[in-house]
Amino acid sequence: MIRRIASVLAATALAAGCSSDRLVVPSFNDPAVGPADRSLLQNLASGLLTEQRGGMAGLVSNVGIFGRESYNYTGSEPRNTSFFLSVFPLDNSGFTNGQWDPRWRNIRNALNLITIADPAPFLTDAEKNAVRGYANTLRALDLFYVVATRDTLGAPTAVDVETNRAQPFVSRDSVYRFISATLDQAATQLAAGGTAFPFTLHAGFAGFTTPATFRQFNRALAARVLVYRGTLGCGNPCYTQALAAIGESFINATPGADLRRGVYHVFSTASGDALNGLNNQVNPDILAHPSYRGDAQRRANGDPDLRFSTKLRTISPARNAPGTGLGIPTDLAFTLYPDQTTPLPIIRNEELILLRAEANIGLGNLSAALPDINFTRVNAGGLEPLTTLGSASDAVTTLLYERRYSLMFEGHRWFDVRRHGRILSLPLDLPTHFRVTVMPVPQAECVFRATLAQELRGPGCP
């Protein structure tokens, strides 16, 4: 009897599984954070590019709507029209507050990459510098998108990867200065980065895959930031530095130069990869603003600017916003991303040429700006060259026209008119429309900060 009871109890204990080893179940679906090896480094390096790419279609489309370049007439989502154009102020609880979380996540990813690469025993010092330069360049670019969309609201600059604590907001100009400094630091690191990265870069970086050539890309971004800063109050010192940076970039304004040479986000139809969200098939509801037609200058033969006819097409019938009358009809659609996998530029030669022109205009050196302006007018637009830029104000008008058509739907115009104080040049299609000047800081960020000390609350959060 006793033996029977004992055996039953023993069976019970056995069934309980005395060990908890069975309870250790791994993470099947995603890698758990662990030590680095070369392949992880490659994944993390590529991860910076996928994360950054993920926000680009949204950026171009959103600032396209704000800058009256585009519309998004998705039938099942009338808020794509109403929330962007008619509901003031912009809703900070979603929808019109993009370009925030993923950008910060990528800044975190860049810092993570550096943190993981720095102690890696399998990397040389040069390789570590190359990783730092790479990560800092991309991190600066993400922060640029943050401040460009938030403008006067400012932004934090640092990310506390260890504790996830909130960092204080600083002014727009401080953020831009921080970006410039980060890019400069990255340039130094790239210069000490040896001959190759310890990972490979995708085809969008063709020609910029070594630390030395990647540095040209870095300098191009630095030039863009410096020119922005020039228009935002820094003035001549920034323009001068911008010209220096452009000189170290991949600018090429010699006859026959490829205006499209530059660095791109790439897409593919492979499983797990992404398509270009600005392509007409991927997103058939993105349409172009009808003002492109009337504003296009005429070529000698009376045809419109080549950039109008090559980047846009007429659709029939015209389309209007879904819902009740919050948009205007348009019969223009973009063709500049003809395939689902057409690469999306990050920065390219055509922009560099116009940046040099802008810096020169900013410095009052209109005659130096004229050849660059004419380079895009003639080579990209097929227009007659200008003989003079007129007044400084006229020169800016001309520059903005060139940027509008040369960099059409690449995410520039809204920034351009705003930083030049010409936001009022954007047309209001309907009396109920308004002109957005900043994208709001997301509600979640502000709700969180509302519980923190005063110095951590704003100014981005009202």
């Binding site: 056995l14 995603d30 991860g47 998705t74 996540r105 990813n109 499983s271 991927v282 109920t432 979640a444």
Partner: protein
């Protein structure tokens, strides 16, 4: 034994089937009388075990004591009728002698010489004792129905049970009879209105099911919110696996193959209600504490029918029925051509609108045709049928119960239906005199064609969504000579590839769900020691549940919307493989001292459980015509896998004392799980409960019982919440990118913990003709899993953490009255009432939004805020603020409605008159708001059926808050002209989400849930027609959801676009229409 008299009617088979439940002859209320002393445990294996023990004892005693005994024969019938009662237990009081009645009600046993007392009992009837004087050799006994179910056994733990009259917590029992009165698509539908304390809703009317059971309100936000389902000791999966319909509807965007908006089926639907003997629902924490960290949401214990010794007893049921759309949303009838053009222009453009209106006019002789699309598409009255057959039988050593069945449900739309096949065999076997075994095996196969429904984005494919955009003059049904459907130009912004014709879509799209499932259990029971005062038993139970769900979605290349993504054709193949198992070992000790007025029972057990689920999905676009395989075209694949293991040990102590008046139970369970941060740590969950019965203390009141209990249960985290991971953020240049994910895992995560106090009383009066059960409960869920807010500027936004507090208070009342109980006529009336108030306790630093629920502030959605109802609907509305002394109006996201009903009531009345019986169940829900996004779509395109009704704002001024909107920070009147319309007012007032209140609407309803009229054919007639062996034959006419009264505009306020959801099941967006059903049924027993 030959069946001379007809067997009880099949309608009672639920109660009948359990006739062996009161274990005999230990089923005495006096410990000294039984072999086992106590009878606290009464689950199937315990029953089995006891029967076996008794049978053996009988043989031994009979052999020894034959000399001094005499024979008593008799017959047991139902009081007031001549219906014989089979399987009733007849026992000689004070001895271990006893037997069961045969199907014709007769019994024969040997009893001691001299006067004896017989105790006769049967499930569903009240216990009766009869004195048989020394000289009397036969006795006829009539049993009264136990209408109040006082004597049924209710479970009190993993395996224990107790008579309902003693239970110290409110446990709901639903019998087979109640479950199967009216056919249901899935068990949860059959449970609607029968479980006081549970909110049960069907998410749509698509064939194959899809419903939610929520016991006592919201128990979790991020964790599991569904009850634990246990079938014959097997912990079964109730997973809801999305089909991949998102690949067509794009409800969650084009990137995902499948989303929660895919009108998911929860796998409880695989269980055949006809196999079920009874369902018990443990609601409170004290009752379910023995299930530890999976018990917070309540435990639903399903017991299937088991075999009884005797001749094979067959039962065949055939049902035929049909269904019909419960309600249609209608379509606008345009008052004139101009308004038709105006509406059509919104859904396309002016050119197309004019062209289509003219075409419609020309085709219809100059007047605008009117099409009511919803009834046209969902207007079928399909044939449904169910066939089932079962047999039970066996001898003393082997008993079996086997059943097969097929149920076919036709869908309201073409190409939609569901077929469910079930087979089950349950075997009980005595191995040795001390060892018994049980082996159960159930198989299920479901094939559902679910159609397309719910939310949709470009291209718009969900039928109701398309109907919202399509003006009623369009003729969508008629195919041309080549068989092509008309191209619908509306809803796609003038581009037909972004729109669709639902008649074409449902005709050709396949959305097929195919499930194969095996659930099985094996159990060994060993009686280690038995004496009149001590009993020691041990058992080991192994259960498994394995299913494979295959979903195939195929959208052929030629469909109108197919070019929309640049590729023709879409195919999805997805596979969900679920594998679960559980092992339970336990030892039970029962102590019944002769000299002391109590019985005690102690149970110690250990469990080990494992649940694995692997989901693999492939989608291909750009197909070779006619080939639904995913081989060709651009493919994307996803796979996810989860695995969780749990271990637990528990102890339960029960005490029944003072003539069974005092009942006390205490339990403690320790749980650990692979999902917790610390996998080695045991989390302890205690439970205590007690009740005392006052018998005949007050005149007219037979019994008054006070109950009190306190318990703690847990809800362990979900798989993966403990991992800090790098997420794949996509492929680029052929390399997988990795990076931080938005939500950080938490390595310190632990189970949510619920503490609940339940107080109540039960009152039985007027000779058991009235019973009143009242329960009040108060729950506090701490360590609730919520997302802790992190500054988004840290690169991560939230982290799982045990930081929430959820509070729930509620009352449940169940009143049963027997207004008439005369010879030949019985009327039983049951009324149940339930109300719940639930809110968030402290919730600081928490992300206020539960993930993946709702469409945002414009339409209403849940949020988390301290002190605010967890089921509150938040949304935009203009509010007046005083800013710097100035009256300012701004849009704010605030609480605008409550998704939880004010209360629910269920009324069931059963009338039995001779051979006729009628059961009527009415459900009433008051309150419970719905976010009517379906109406919003119809209004967007001015197609709502009531669009042209008068606006409430005709002639209104600014002092009417419902008549102004905010524009540029100023109040602007909506259209107040004498021609202003209702539809335009709603849309204007909503004004692109600035006032969400317009579409958040009252979801109150009264539903005629079940009606069942049954007639038992006289046995003389049935035998003449069907042969001598035939026992009872019953005909019935039954209906489900026959009528609904509701102010709600939509088809049914029970639907849910997001399917099963802890806090946000109030979104109505283009659901598959719910239906009403009528069945004719024939039951034959022989």
């Amino acid at each position: 034994m030959l069946a001379i008299h007809p067997r009880p009617v099949v309608a009672r088979s639920g109660a009948d089937a359990g006739a062996d439940t009161p274990s005999f002859p230990v089923a005495t209320r006096r410990p000294s009388r039984g072999v086992g002393g106590t009878r606290l445990g009464d689950s199937p294996p315990m029953r089995l075990f006891r029967q076996c023990a008794v049978a053996l004892a009988l043989v031994a005693i009979a052999a020894a004591d034959l000399v001094a005994q005499r024979r008593i024969t008799g017959r047991v019938t139902e009081e007031g009728t001549t219906t014989p009662l089979g399987s009733a237990s007849v026992q000689v009081a004070g001895t271990t002698t006893g037997t069961y009645t045969a199907a014709n009600g007769t019994f024969a046993l040997t009893a001691p010489a001299g006067q004896v007392t017989l105790r006769i009992r049967r499930i569903g009837y009240q216990l009766r004792t009869v004195v048989v004087p020394a000289g009397q050799g036969s006795v006829d006994v009539a049993l009264k129905r136990d209408i109040l179910q006082l004597e049924t056994q209710v479970v009190t733990g993993q395996q224990g049970s107790i008579e309902r009259r003693n239970a110290a917590t409110a446990i709901v029992q639903v019998t087979a009879e109640e479950l199967n009165r009216v056919p249901a698509v899935s068990p949860e539908q059959a449970l609607q209105g029968k479980v006081v304390g549970a909110r049960i809703n069907m998410n749509s009317g698509a064939p194959g099911g899809g419903g939610q059971i929520q016991v006592r309100g919201v128990t979790s936000v991020l964790g599991n919110g569904e009850p634990l389902f246990v079938i014959d000791g097997v912990i079964m999966s109730n997973a809801s696996i999305a089909s991949g319909a998102n690949s067509i509807t794009r409800a969650g965007g084009a990137g995902a193959i499948a989303t929660v908006q895919d009108n998911r089926t929860n796998r409880l639907a695989d269980i055949n209600p006809a196999e079920i003997e009874d369902i018990q629902v443990l609601k409170g924490a004290a009752a379910s504490a023995i299930y530890g960290s999976r018990a917070t949401n309540g435990v639903v214990i399903i017991t299937t029918k088991r075999g009884r010794s005797g001749q094979p007893r067959w039962n065949v049921t055939q049902r035929f029925g049909t269904s019909e759309i419960l309600r249609t949303v209608g379509q606008r009838r345009f008052p004139d051509t101009a308004s038709a053009i105006a509406a059509a222009t919104l859904a396309a453009n002016a050119t197309i609108a004019r062209e289509q209106v003219i075409a419609a006019l020309n085709a219809n002789g100059g007047t605008l045709p009117y099409n009511e699309f919803t009834s046209q598409l969902f207007g079928r009255t399909p044939l449904s049928w169910q066939t089932s057959a079962s047999v039970t039988g066996g001898n003393e050593n082997t008993r079996y119960s086997a059943s097969v069945g097929r149920a076919f449900d036709g869908g309201l739309a073409v190409n939609t239906d569901n077929t469910r096949d079930n087979a089950r065999i349950n075997i009980d076997q005595n191995v040795t005199s001390r060892l018994t075994a049980r082996l159960d095996l159930g198989y299920a196969r479901q094939r559902a064609n679910r159609g397309i429904s719910n939310n949709s984005n470009t291209p718009v494919t969900s039928p109701l969504y398309v109907f919202g955009a399509t003006p009623s003059f369009m003729e969508l049904r008629t195919r041309d000579a080549q068989g092509n459907f008309p191209v619908n130009r509306f809803g796609g912004n003038a581009n037909p590839i972004n729109a669709s014709n639902p008649f074409q879509t449902l005709q050709f799209v396949q959305n097929e769900e195919d499930v194969d499932r095996i659930i099985g259990a094996g159990e060994l029971n060993y009686q280690a020691y038995t004496s009149p005062t001590h009993q020691l038993r041990a058992s080991v139970l192994f259960g498994f549940d394995r299913f494979n769900q295959e979903n195939q979605v195929y959208s052929p290349n030629f469909l109108q919307y197919e070019p929309s993504d640049g590729q023709l054709g879409t195919a999805v193949e997805s596979n969900g493989a679920s594998r679960q198992s559980n092992l339970l070992a336990r030892v039970n000790y029962e102590f019944a001292p002769r000299s002391l007025p109590f019985r005690a029972s102690t149970e110690v057990g250990a469990t080990q459980e494992e649940q694995g689920l692997v989901l693999t999905r492939v989608r291909a676009i750009g197909l070779v015509p006619g080939v639904p395989n995913v081989n060709q075209g651009q493919q994307i694949t996803t796979q996810s896998r989860e695995l969780q293991r749990d271990q637990a040990i528990y102890v339960r102590q029960q005490l029944l004392a003072f003539d069974d008046r005092l009942f006390l139970q205490g339990s403690l369970r320790g749980d650990r799980s692979s999902n917790n941060g610390d996998v080695a740590k045991f989390f302890l969950f205690p439970g205590v409960q007690g009740s005392y019965r006052f018998v005949n203390a007050i005149p007219g009141i037979d019994e008054f019982k006070l109950r009190a209990s306190y318990g703690e249960t847990g809800n362990r985290p979900l798989y993966g919440q403990r991992f800090v991971i790098l997420g794949g953020n996509g492929l680029i240049g052929g390399v997988n990118g990795l990076g931080a994910v938005a939500t950080l895992g938490n390595p310190n995560i632990r189970p949510e913990r619920m503490a609940e106090t339940e107080l109540g009383f039960d009152l039985f009066g007027f000779s058991r003709r009235v019973s009143l059960e009242f329960t009040n409960f108060d729950r506090r869920i701490t360590d609730a899993l919520l997302l802790r807010n992190l500054p988004n500027t840290s690169g991560v936004t939230t982290q799982f953490d045990n930081i929430g507090v959820l509070r729930t208070r509620g009352q449940e009342v169940a009143l049963q009255v027997v207004p008439a109980q005369t010879r030949g006529f019985t009327w039983v009336s049951r009324t149940a009432f339930q109300r719940i108030r639930q809110w968030y306790g402290r919730a600081d630093g928490v992300n206020p939004f539960p993930p993946n629920v709702g469409f945002g502030a414009a339409y209403g959605r849940p949020r988390i805020a301290t002190g605010v109802s967890s089921t509150a609907i938040w949304g935009n509305r203009p509010v007046r603020l005083n800013v710097n002394g100035r009256d300012t109006i701004v849009v704010r996201d605030t609480v605008i409605a409550e998704g939880n009903p004010d209360f629910e009531m269920f009324f069931t009345n059963t009338f039995t008159a001779g051979r006729w019986s009628l059961a009527v169940q009415v459900d009433w829900r008051r309150g419970g708001a719905m976010s009517n996004v379906t109406q919003n779509v119809f209004d967007q395109y001015r197609n709502a059926r009531d669009h042209d009704a008068a606006s409430p704002c005709r002639g209104a001024t600014l002092d009417r808050e419902d008549c102004w909107i905010l524009s540029g920070g100023r109040q602007v009147l909506v259209d107040t002209s004498a021609t202003a319309t209702l539809g335009a007012w709603r849309w204007q007032k909503w004004n692109n989400g600035q006032d969400a209140r317009v579409y958040v609407q009252d979801g109150s309803f009264v539903k005629l849930r079940e009606v069942a009229l049954a007639y038992q054919v006289p046995s003389s007639l049935s035998r003449r027609l069907l042969g001598e062996r035939v026992g009872d034959v019953r005909l019935s006419l039954v209906g489900r959801n026959l009528l609904m009264w509701s102010p709600y505009w939509g088809m049914d306020p029970e639907v849910s676009n997001f399917g099963n959801n802890n806090v946000g099941r109030f979104v109505d967006l283009a659901p598959f229409p719910p239906s009403r059903q009528v069945f004719f049924s024939l039951d034959v027993g022989f």
